[in-house]
């Protein structure tokens, strides 16, 4: 009996010591290996279930069967774009932008890409235009550039970049959580394209040693797993966002405030806008044409609508932005469209940039023609 006890004691000690050592080893090795990007590429989407038609984003995962995560590899691996290389008969158009492109409150088939694909447009050489929704619901051109940086690996034939003034202020560029949580890629973009931003801005998430261990990254790992598991529900229901029964329409009566992100009338200084990020897009994509589109906004007719167009924009700032945008397009020789007033106020849902299916269809129709004209010899 005493011998047994000794043996047991030794084995328990060994088990505990081995367990702790093994745990520490795996935990610490996780940091230099940083396997999250590689793990993100392993995806059941496009294999077991169909790829998502818009990037993962979700505020109510239980009801939306979707979630927000920061692992761009995992996000793209779950997208239908990652299913195949660009087929020879496909003219691949990637649409990037904010929540109006992603399709807040509207179903996948009612987004810009949904309508463009439904139109089944054929370009002059017989290839069919296939649009991919790469919108992501935060307002920041740097966020768009980050997504474009990943998207270029998927052999696009054209980029449609939907923009609005709210994405332009320099001070807003680093506010998007996905930008803050992909520091090395974004810092690399800032230095490569000499953007007017600080690559060491404190807004960047700066994980310490503990944060980058296995334990520290447990949330990111769980998010990758949850994204895979929600694929079942995406496949089973086609639902990727929570559609509330009702929502507040855009604000009709506005404050008499004339400031725009702390900027005062009468002049909008181009240095306060991140026009350099737009140029960076051109540099990044090389020969691939980019169509820049100033997206439609809600135009209020209520109280103080002589001062502001809507909740986001005082008239002076927005008017000058349109002029600056047009001047930049003209100077740079960029392909641009300004569709700011294309959609009537009734066709906006819950904000000054979120359009209804009909409003989106109206814009999609304009885009179809623009795409066709850009592809014409």
């Amino acid at each position: 009996m005493p011998e047994d006890k000794t043996t047991n004691k030794v084995s328990l000690k060994r088990v505990i010591i081995k367990g702790v050592l093994l745990f520490l080893l795996i935990d610490i090795l996780f940091t230099p290996l940083s396997p999250l990007p590689i793990l993100g590429q392993i995806s059941a989407y496009n294999v077991i279930y169909p790829g998502r038609v818009r990037l993962p984003y979700g505020e109510n995962p239980d009801q939306a069967y979707n979630l927000s995560l920061f692992n761009l590899e995992a996000m793209f691996a779950s997208h239908v774009l990652a299913a195949t290389k660009n087929p020879v008969d496909e003219y691949r158009v990637l649409i990037i932008g904010d929540s109006s492109v992603w399709g807040y409150l509207i179903k996948p088939e009612n987004t810009l890409s949904g309508y463009i694909n439904a139109a089944n447009i054929k370009i002059s050489n017989g290839r069919t235009v296939r649009a991919y929704n790469l919108g992501y619901p935060t307002l920041s051109l740097l966020k768009d550039l980050l997504i474009l940086n990943y998207a270029t690996r998927y052999q696009p034939d054209m980029i449609v970049w939907m923009v609005t003034l709210e994405s332009f202020p320099v001070a807003k560029q680093l506010d998007s959580p996905i930008v803050q949580n992909n520091p090395s890629t974004v810092q690399n973009l800032i230095t490569t394209y000499s953007l007017n931003l600080n690559p060491h801005d404190p807004k960047f998430a700066t994980p310490n040693l503990w944060d980058s261990t296995l334990v520290g990254e447990r949330r990111a790992l769980a998010d990758i797993l949850r994204l895979q598991l929600y694929g079942v529900m995406w496949s089973a229901t086609g639902i990727d966002q929570y559609y509330p029964q009702s929502y507040e329409p855009p604000q009709e009566n506005l404050a008499s405030d004339e400031t725009f992100h702390g900027l005062l009338p009468p002049y909008l200084n181009p240095a306060d806008l991140s026009l350099d990020i737009i140029s960076a897009g051109i540099n990044m994509t090389g020969n691939i044409p980019i169509l820049y589109v100033n997206e439609p906004i809600y135009i209020s007719h209520g109280e103080n609508s002589d001062i502001r167009y809507n909740f986001f924009y005082p008239r002076w700032a927005y008017d000058q932005y349109r002029q600056l945008f047009a001047d930049s397009c003209s100077t740079g020789g960029w392909h641009c469209l300004d569709e700011w007033n294309l959609v009537p106020p009734d066709e906006f849902t819950n904000s000054a940039i979120h359009m209804s299916p009909l409003g989106t269809q109206t814009l999609a129709f304009v885009l179809e023609h623009a795409i066709l004209s850009l592809t014409s010899p």
Binding site: K5, L12, V15, R226, L229, Y230, V232, A236, T237, G238
Partner: protein
């Protein structure tokens, strides 16, 4: 005991009704002490020790109440405990009631049945939404809170279902003369033993007391076995069950699904999710029990690998099934058998199984869906019982044909698993119409 008392206050979730997260565990303790008084023999041998235990319980309640004044490090409970004078008053009232009950109640069968009715009444009030809402209205009115906001979800009494089973078990065994003498301390530990407090298993007090009375020193083997079981339980619950929960069948997704194949996947996911969830909790409880010297009974024994429904129910939530067998099914069938009208045996089995399983269903919540789920299993067990009788002779012939026997066994596993999985459709969804519609969808009938 002190650890268990602290745990039941700590585990109790917050509720919109002010201080209810403090009063529910307190009521649980009061009910436990009352039940002990009713079940103890008239001449308790260790009077002094029981008095000390009573004082310790009162002191712990008052100490938990004092955490209200700890400021930022407050509290053990989900919200700040009530004012100390209120707790003092409550403890005093409980003490007076306990003294009176101790004077008049021990050995009185009427009091015992009264207590059983009280526990069942509380149970029904907590499981039947209209009654729970009424309770909420009453409690809100007492607290001067808005009664318009009252909801059945206001009252979440963690662990009461299992506490009720243990209390009724001891009360019934007291009447039957099968209950050993227990000190107040042993009794309280048995009822609120924290590893098994919220999700079982439901141990028998006779066995539990043996473990409790046995001197215990944690051995290396026990520590390893217990630790492994806790780890496996946590993996089952927090990885497997919680992962499956993301796409398991529920009231929301059942109407959204657009393919029969995925609907089957979601139904299977629910079947495995509920298994891993429940068995995970049980493993954690058993593992923790082992570390504390209590060998709690197993609750699951590979239930989805059983060849028929009877074997399934002998391996799924075993302690619950045993409880109902001992305190409902057996007494009922005994009574029916001794009935002068000579009720045929198949009918006795039918009534016994159907009513037992409807009760098990209603234990989960008083709703049509749980009742139908219970009836589904009661009926399934009856059919299996009759079928077994019918083919008994043929089954014995299979022994000479092992390959066929294996095939029949596999077929039995698949059939049982699917019968159970389809039963979960009643359990997972909230209305019979929704469940029926899902059934039709599963078989392409809609």
């Amino acid at each position: 005991m002190v650890a268990s008392i602290l745990a039941i206050y700590w585990l109790q979730p917050s509720t919109p009704i002010r201080h209810l997260d403090f009063w529910l565990p307190t009521t649980c303790l009061a009910l436990t002490i009352l039940t002990w008084i009713l079940t103890r023999p008239k001449d308790t041998s260790d009077f002094r020790a029981n008095i000390i235990t009573g004082f310790v319980i009162a002191a712990v309640i008052l100490l938990i109440g004092l955490t209200r004044y700890l400021g930022s490090i407050c509290c053990l409970t989900a919200t700040r405990p009530p004012a100390i004078y209120e707790i003092f008053l409550a403890v005093t009232l409980i003490t007076i009631f306990v003294i009176l009950a101790n004077r008049f109640a021990p050995g009185q069968v009427g009091w015992i049945y009264g207590c059983i009715i009280l526990i069942i009444g509380l149970f029904v009030a907590l499981k039947f939404e209209p009654l729970t809402k009424l309770m909420s209205i009453g409690l809100r009115a007492m607290n001067a809170q808005s009664v318009e906001l009252a909801s059945a979800f206001d009252i979440k009494w963690l662990g009461f279902s299992y506490v009720a089973f243990r209390l009724i078990h001891t009360l019934r065994d007291r009447v039957n003369g099968r209950l050993p003498e227990l000190t107040l301390k042993e009794y309280v530990i048995y009822v609120i033993f924290f590893p098994a407090y919220s999700a079982g298993p439901i141990d028998r007090v006779q066995r539990f007391a043996q473990d409790l009375q046995r001197p215990f020193q944690l051995s290396m083997d026990t520590a390893l076995i217990g630790g492994k079981q806790i780890f496996l339980g946590m993996f089952s619950k927090y990885v497997l069950a919680d992962g499956l929960a993301l796409f398991a069948l529920n009231s929301n997704n059942s109407s959204q699904v657009n393919s029969i194949g995925w609907l089957w996947v979601m139904t299977y996911a629910f079947a495995f999710r509920i298994f891993f969830d429940f068995s995970g909790y049980t493993d954690i409880a058993i593992g923790m029990g082992q570390l504390l010297g209590i060998q709690l009974p197993e609750n699951f024994e590979r239930p989805y690998f059983k060849q028929n429904l009877t074997l399934f129910w002998n391996s799924w939530h075993m302690t619950l099934a045993q409880w109902f067998r001992a305190y409902f099914f057996n007494p009922l069938t005994r009574a029916l058998r001794s009935d002068t009208r000579n009720i045929p045996m198949p009918l006795i089995i039918f009534i016994g199984q159907l009513s037992t399983f409807i009760l098990i269903g209603l234990w989960h919540g008083i709703s049509w869906n749980y009742a139908i789920w219970g009836a589904w299993h009661g009926l399934g067990l009856f059919i299996h019982n009759r079928w077994s009788e019918l083919i008994r002779s043929r089954v014995s012939n299979l022994d000479s044909r092992p390959r066929l026997k294996r095939l029949v066994g596999l077929g039995g596993i698949l059939l049982t698993f699917h019968y159970v999985s389809l039963g979960w459709v009643w359990f997972a969804l909230s209305t019979p119409a929704q469940s029926w519609n899902t059934f039709l969808k599963l078989f392409r009938l809609v």
